[in-house]
């Protein structure tokens, strides 16, 4: 369900060859982040979203990558919330799609990007979709406006009837 690929970012992030495997959970308790831990060389994960179970996978990968770039517990929860929200949109409007979580590095600033894409009906009016309370599936500004509020950068491309891609970035504080 998930594809892994290696990139140059991993090398830059490693401080020294003796740095212990960063997939070890912060508190030493084997509760979640170590389960199915990715190799430290993996910097990008693609998950095909077609079920709730796939969203669980995507969240787990997002949490692990988030830990690797140094996100604290709260920011890791923000990442998983974004993934849940984007995954939910895919299931709701397009039935299937993909989420790619990637470690990013912009001149020493590190973070994660989360890209959700699908080939559903698309969004006719992007401005409306980003306005609080517009969403046809939720209230109170959940959905895309919510994701925008949680993230540092967001871009949205939608060609109605063809495809929709939401790209979100979250930088380490």
């Amino acid at each position: 369900m998930a594809e892994f690929s290696a990139g140059s970012v991993a090398r830059d992030l490693r401080r020294s060859p003796s740095t212990p495997d960063p997939t070890v959970v912060e508190t030493g308790v084997p509760i979640l982040d170590v389960e199915g831990a990715l190799s430290r060389h993996v910097t990008e994960v693609r998950i095909h979203i077609d079920s709730d179970r796939a969203i669980v996978d995507a969240r787990q990968h997002g949490r692990q990558l988030g830990m690797r770039v140094g996100f604290g517990i709260i920011d890791r929860a923000v990442v998983t919330t974004i993934i849940s929200e984007l995954g939910r949109n895919i299931l709701l409007y397009a039935a299937r799609g993909d989420i790619v979580v990637k470690m990013i590095d912009d001149d020493g600033r590190v973070g994660l990007s989360i890209e959700a894409s699908d080939q559903g009906p698309g969004i006719a009016n992007i401005d409306d979709a980003l306005r609080d309370g517009f969403s046809t599936a939720g209230r109170l500004g959940l959905g895309l406006p919510g994701v925008r509020r949680l993230s540092d950068e967001m871009s949205l491309v939608s060609i109605p009837g063809q495809r929709t891609t939401v790209l979100v970035k979250k930088w380490r504080r």
Partner: protein
Amino acid sequence: MSEDAHLSLLLSRYDTLLRGTLPNIDEFVLKAAHEFGRDLLDRGYGVLNVVGLHHRLVGRILSAQPPNLVAQSTEAASRLLVESLTPFEMTHSGFRAAHAALEDSEERYRELFENAHDVIFTADLEGRITSINRAGELLTGYPRSEALSLNLSRLFPPGEVPGSRRETPWDVEAFVAQPRAELELLARDGRRVPLEVSTRPIYVDGRPIGIQAIARDITDRRNAEFVLRHLNRHLEEKAKRIAHALHDEAGQLLASVYLRVAEISGELPPIGRRRMEELRTLLDQVDDQLRRLAYELRPTILDDLGLVPACQFLAEGVSRRARIRVLVKGSTGGRLAPDVETALYRVAQEALANAGKHARARRTTVEFERNGRLLRGTIRDDGVGFDVTGMLSRLGGTQGFGLMGMRERIVALGGRFAVRSKLGQGTAIEFEVPLEA
């Protein structure tokens, strides 16, 4: 469905999930926590509703849990709460409130840490105490201001570690190497308190930066072991006296009956003598039974020659009666304290009886090994084996009691006891007991 009905359904679903998982959590539960928060948000509930409901559910679960799981469950619960509050940060109104609530709940969990009954402390890699809770202050006698400049080696001075001959200081490495240990704490006023300590390393960004330890005062348990040991000693004394009465007093009575029978049969006609011969055969059987009973109650050979010869003698008897081969190997490196010899003999006796009765074993090996101040023993058979957890969960059976009895005898000596068995794969009983200097 009404809002109330929906909320209670949501709560009970989440509650069931938490009960089934805490103290362990995985991404599946975290997603459920997210959905719990999101659903409440979607229905117009506020941050404080979520926090309140969460604390109520988790509080109920924590209070029903054994104390050793509470610290881990608390930590897991705080991560679930973070997950369930994060959706609120998606909205204008929730943004600040969620942050405030998170800080507030951190405060709450800090309070749980503070008020825990167990001692909780952390130390850095050099062994300096970096935090300690109130229970820790009380037990060590050091107020926090003083405790925070202390080194672990001050609280846990070099001591004799079972199984090693040297004086080992309890530094960070020793704690990490032995994540569960029984140690003696040296309190500020010189009191020594036995503690059971579980330790785990703390990592930040994948680097170890120190340890966290949860320690429990096991004075009560030690006292219980002491009482148990005395009770065992008392019972053995009783058994010895009964054995003596059977063997010597009843034996003497029997001897005089023999004499009388011989006298009377001399005065009888041949038919009467044959009847008296039958009576003598019956008396022989009574004599045999008496001796065996007396011996099983208290084998004199154990007092006279020690554990290994007594086990060898026991093995011969079992071999004959149950027709299994019993091999006794190894050495105890000399005589041991009477309490220890008695307890280990009783364990061997019970284990061999099981091997003969229930296990349908063909071979059984009893092995002792002395390693400094630690005596290890193994009793292994090639019988039918059994399902250990199943056996221990229905302790009503006589075999379950036998196992419990063995464990109690070893525990009373401050030792460790394990049964390993699988259906069709034989049984191994392993134990180790510390020996006094």
